[in-house]
Symmetry: C2
Subunit: 336 residues, 2 copies
Amino acid sequence: MTAVPAPITDGRALVDRAMRDTADRLDPLTRRVVAYHLGWTDADGRPAEAGGKALRPALALLSARAAGTPYETALPGAVAVEFVHAFSLLHDDLMDGDRTRRHRPAAWTVFGPSAAILGGDALLTLAANLLLDEHTRGAHWAARALTAATQRLIAGQALDLGFEQRDHVTLDECLAMAADKTGALLACACSIGAMLGEGPARLVTALTGFGSELGLAFQLVDDLLGVWGSPGTTGKPVLSDLRARKKSLPVVYALNAGTAESERLAELYADPGTPSEETLREMARLVEAAGGRDWAAAEADRRIASAERYLDESGMDHHIAAEFRDIALFVTARDH
Amino acid sequence: MTAVPAPITDGRALVDRAMRDTADRLDPLTRRVVAYHLGWTDADGRPAEAGGKALRPALALLSARAAGTPYETALPGAVAVEFVHAFSLLHDDLMDGDRTRRHRPAAWTVFGPSAAILGGDALLTLAANLLLDEHTRGAHWAARALTAATQRLIAGQALDLGFEQRDHVTLDECLAMAADKTGALLACACSIGAMLGEGPARLVTALTGFGSELGLAFQLVDDLLGVWGSPGTTGKPVLSDLRARKKSLPVVYALNAGTAESERLAELYADPGTPSEETLREMARLVEAAGGRDWAAAEADRRIASAERYLDESGMDHHIAAEFRDIALFVTARDH
């Protein structure tokens, strides 16, 4: 297990405080859902410690450092990207029917679908509102970029839902979906601090490219964990993506590989019944035999290498570039 | 039936064009849901003419005229308020289980809950993104006001959902809920054009006050229609609010009136079974006998009078003030 890089742990307390302060702007009912979803409370509203690793806020603060921007200027950006991320998880769990999130019951199973919808709506709105608190050019830039990234995130989720109703999805379609669903917000997280600090366009562009590639790598690793990850690490049941017949990246690669295993996998994916544990294990073997596992791991490495080239082009301080690199390696080394 | 005031019909084509152009920024799947929900297409994607009256865009454009702002500057504001309104209807219909919207099946019944959630998310995000297209102080002001109004709208819906699970709701709580759920966005619609044009703070404040009171009046009339409106006008089944046991303003007034009818009404509202048509008619009689109908009508008139005082204080041109007044009277004269 790779150690958590310093930038992720360093700003953690600062971001946590800012997130809680911002959430206090919510009405009491919505705040309850949000506090549970973000891991601050249990289902009865008692204090809990079940938060995520806050990767996006760490990247946002690091991007501020890359632009020589003080933490305080970037903090609303760090909170806003995490709120948009939390919004998407809250709504996605409901849409996908996922009942578990970070080893706990998903918020919609605790508070009901309506509360989950409203909680997500509130997080999305609060993220944009928070960024607009300051009347600076940087705030305007950041808010525009965040809402544009959110549009792509929503488009990606719409595509993903559409995939489930289609027999055939190409690898290019699946990569484009992942770029929208995961890449766009991560690209925004990696550059929003620099935008808030009105950093040079060259730096913002390079950081956006870095984040976009990192997002793809992240999704590839997440998809690998969705088939071969251990429930202890992922917080999801074993083979969960296959059980839900998700058209994730390694699966779509395997389906399109043109091998005998691809055909057999396509048959199993087309069967509308609930697959047995044995069938699930067969599916996993087929994805692997058709090359889906190796391809996804290699593609993640290629994306990380491409992300690193963006760092080289950014003109940023070497120490900060090294911290971005550490996060990228950490993210793609998650237990596989 | 009062004639539709000129400001509502005048800008209609302009706003319609701008809304369609803006919706083209959406991904194809989400755009389909949005186009149906906004009345541009039928369930199969064929052109239709089933749009609403676009009250909020008309108010937004009128507020621009009050500030001497050109239409083009205010148009994104007109589109953005209508998109936020459409977002709220899309999500609310799903949350409330309302199956009919403007004489047609509600979008969630046609495309499914997930598509309705995503469609609403997309409209909400697009509204903010659109306002930020221009890098002006006015755009920043408008985007901040719109996201703040949206937060109140969400808080109002959260309160409203909470009311349904409570035995007792006070009239003040219900008025505060309506101020959030309906007043905040209408207040923003009535002032956003002036904000985009960077009009004087005194004008924006007066228009916000006008819209806030108009919103309350609008909600009171809507609640009256929810009990005594004809389905032909409202597009909803007769007595629909009573069937759903909504704690609407006239009902909450009646429940709190301390009369014998209040007690009987409370008993009927507490019964978890499906009320018969006869029971629904009894409920309507009880709300009326306890004074709920008269109070709501009088309160709507008081709110309109208060709204008109804001116009007097605004310092705006008399002709434009008269147009705001016409809209206010039109809105509160809807078939009761």
